[in-house]
């Protein structure tokens, strides 16, 4: 079983600072492996443990993204591939085309795993685009994955329902965080991860014809969520009643 996992070295949203004008301070911001990508790596490692094979982690990123690849290698992936481009500059279709080129170059993969979206920009566009470019079936938002022989059965976690689908191998899937609990690499695995192979590819040689659509992020603003700040005062019984009424009016509770 040969599994590719696409990972992104993302801005650490938990440590991101926003200036008084609402602009996120991206320069020099702390970074990390995109949160749900860990679930994708974990799932790949579980499939490998059950069926044996190889797990290759692939990232479009600057040299900083080696940290994320190394973390995936520490978790247990076998080798890493870095495609040198800045994900803050390239658009999603170009990212998908680069990933597809690296996957095609790497030979016959049985499974390509992504997460539902990156924890910084969270467009969720790359996984389906990647499936389209590769011409493979796509299963989005997977919360459970079973591989039997040459086919997969997956539970898709949708807004108000769970859909069970089947697909032949190879396929592309995006996973949601409920699919598993990512393992912590031990310190010795972290130290040894540096010894695992990591290949660096340039977009020009990998996919000279791949083009961006040119859709770029023009600006990015932090969104402030306004709170209603309603305070009820009075004896507990009255306050509880008022709270119930308010929650019902707001549609939180059914009428």
């Amino acid at each position: 079983m040969k599994i590719a996992v696409c990972v992104k070295h993302a801005v650490d949203e938990a440590e991101l600072k926003v200036d008084s004008g609402g602009n996120p301070q991206l320069a020099g911001a702390a970074s990390k492996m995109s949160t749900f990508d860990k679930n994708a790596v974990e799932e790949a490692l579980r499939v490998k443990a059950a069926h044996s094979g190889e797990v290759v982690v692939i990232s479009v990123g600057t040299s900083d993204a080696k940290k994320t690849l190394k973390e995936a290698l520490a978790m247990g992936a076998d080798r890493g591939v870095l495609i040198g481009a800045d994900p803050l500059v390239v658009d999603t279709i170009y990212t998908a085309r680069l990933l597809a080129a690296a996957i095609a170059k790497g030979g016959q993969y049985d499974i390509v795993l992504c997460s539902e979206g990156s924890s910084d920009s969270y467009s969720g566009l790359v996984p389906p685009m990647l499936a389209e470019v590769l011409g493979l079936p796509y299963i989005g938002y997977v919360r459970k994955l079973e591989i039997t022989g040459q086919s997969a059965k997956a539970e898709r976690s949708l807004e108000d329902s769970v859909e069970v689908v089947e697909a032949p191998l190879p396929f592309v899937a995006s996973v949601v965080s409920e699919i598993n609990e990512p393992r912590y690499p031990t310190l010795i695995q972290i130290m040894q991860a540096g010894k695992k192979p990591m290949e660096e590819l340039s977009p020009q040689t990998l996919a000279p014809d791949a083009k961006a659509l040119g859709s770029m992020v023009a600006s990015m603003k932090a969104q402030a969520m306004a709170r209603k700040r309603v305070v009820f005062e009075g004896p507990p019984g009255d306050v509880a009643k008022k709270l119930l009424d308010a929650l019902t009016t707001e549609g939180v509770l059914p009428k």
Binding site: E15, K67, Y184, L187
Partner: protein, 389 residues
């Protein structure tokens, strides 16, 4: 909250321009483990609603104890500073586990530095992997830093020693599988490895402590506790010197642990000050609160630099005994003050909330344990006076 944050990262980069990325990856991974597996349970360890055993085992499996030991004995061969920084992070996540692990590691250090290579081969892999929990048994009911006055004896009979006496305030007592015990032979204080269970080894009731409640502490009693002669560490009569050396290293670690306690108390009170309102504004707007915030922050930064500095001298092979003592005196007293200020900032909630005042209760131990502030000031000043002549 990121337990391993940008400030730690920057210091690592300054101290280790070449290797800092690897070290930061190790520490950041440990930090994430602690954020998820330890920090949320910390107040429950204090109240007894949860036990530290499982979390401690998890830390051992991650490799916390392996950091600064050579690879040939199951270590990672990383600098001492990476280990001390890891203990700072653990102090932030939970001080009582940090104490338990720190003592455990001090035993590994003693065996590694003063034991035979056979002893290192036999015991270090067990200790560093956490398969065996270790306990350091030096202090007695009537003997503390003046280790030479110990009353516990070891008498050689045939191929073994018979140890008799008792040890007091022993961390990990009862839970541990290995005890590094100090007892007097005819040649003076000597050091032994005792494996539990042993029919001559028993324990008093758990002591009711003010803080550090997650870790077990009790009296350890030796009554004709037989130990094979190959379990003597180093030479007879040199035990007090070994203990002193082990404690110098442990003092750096205790300093780091206290920086970690101060950090969590500070973070909580800073968050509180930003949202608590008085007289129509948040209390963080008041100058007297701001003064506390500034002093707390400066103390934490200074404490961290002191233990980094002492760690680095140790790594470079210098005499770090005074710097270790300076780091411990400063960091333990700083953290007590920071925890006290944290209670003050949080007012009535500080005094009545376990999760706030527990940091002060935890910190309170460490101006006493592993060398009191008074004894350490004696050591520091003694060296200053000797060298100025």
């Amino acid at each position: 909250m990121a337990i391993y944050n940008a400030e730690h990262r920057r210091l690592m980069e300054m101290f280790y321009p070449e290797e800092h990325e690897d070290y930061s990856q190790v520490l950041s991974s440990l930090g994430k483990f602690m954020e998820k597996e330890i920090l949320p349970l910390s107040s429950k360890f204090d109240t007894g609603e949860a036990q530290i055993k499982g979390a401690r085992k998890g830390l051992f499996e991650q490799g916390l104890s392996q950091i600064a030991f050579p690879t040939e004995f199951g270590g990672l061969g990383l600098p001492f500073c990476v280990y001390s920084n890891a203990i700072e992070l653990l102090g932030t996540a939970d001080a009582s586990i940090a104490l338990s692990v720190e003592i455990h590691n001090a035993v590994a250090e003693g065996i590694h530095r003063f034991g035979s290579s056979e002893q290192s081969k036999k015991y270090l892999p067990r200790i560093l992997s956490g398969k065996s929990l270790a306990s350091f048994t030096l202090t007695e009911p009537a003997s503390g830093s003046d280790a030479a006055t110990m009353a516990t004896t070891a008498t050689k009979k045939g191929g073994e020693y018979s140890i008799n006496g008792s040890k007091m305030f022993i961390t990990n007592a009862g839970d541990a599988d290995l005890y590094l015990a100090f007892a007097k032979t005819s040649k003076g204080p000597s050091c032994f490895i005792i494996e539990a269970p042993n029919p001559g080894l028993s324990f008093g009731a758990d002591l009711k402590k003010m803080g550090m409640r997650g870790s077990r502490t009790s009296e350890v009693v030796f009554s004709d506790c037989r130990v094979p002669e190959e379990n003597l560490v180093g030479e007879e009569g040199k035990g007090a010197d070994y203990a002193k050396e082990i404690l110098h290293g442990a003092r750096i670690i205790v300093a780091a642990l206290n920086v970690g306690i101060a950090r969590i108390a500070y973070d909580k009170s800073l968050a509180y000050a930003k949202q608590r309102k008085a007289f129509g504004k948040t209390i963080s707007e008041f100058q007297l609160i701001r003064e506390k915030i500034a002093d707390m922050k400066a103390g934490i930064s200074a404490g961290r630099l002191l233990y980094f500095y002492a760690s680095r001298i140790r790594e470079m092979g210098g005499d770090y005994s005074s710097e270790a003592s300076q780091a411990k005196v400063f960091a333990t007293e700083m953290s007590l003050k920071v925890c006290d200020d944290a209670i003050q900032i949080q007012g009535g909630y500080g005094y009545t909330t376990d999760d706030v005042h527990r940091h002060w209760r935890d910190a309170r131990l460490l101006t006493i344990g592993e060398g009191t502030s008074e004894v350490l000031r004696m050591l520091i000043s003694r060296r200053e006076l000797a060298s100025s002549q």
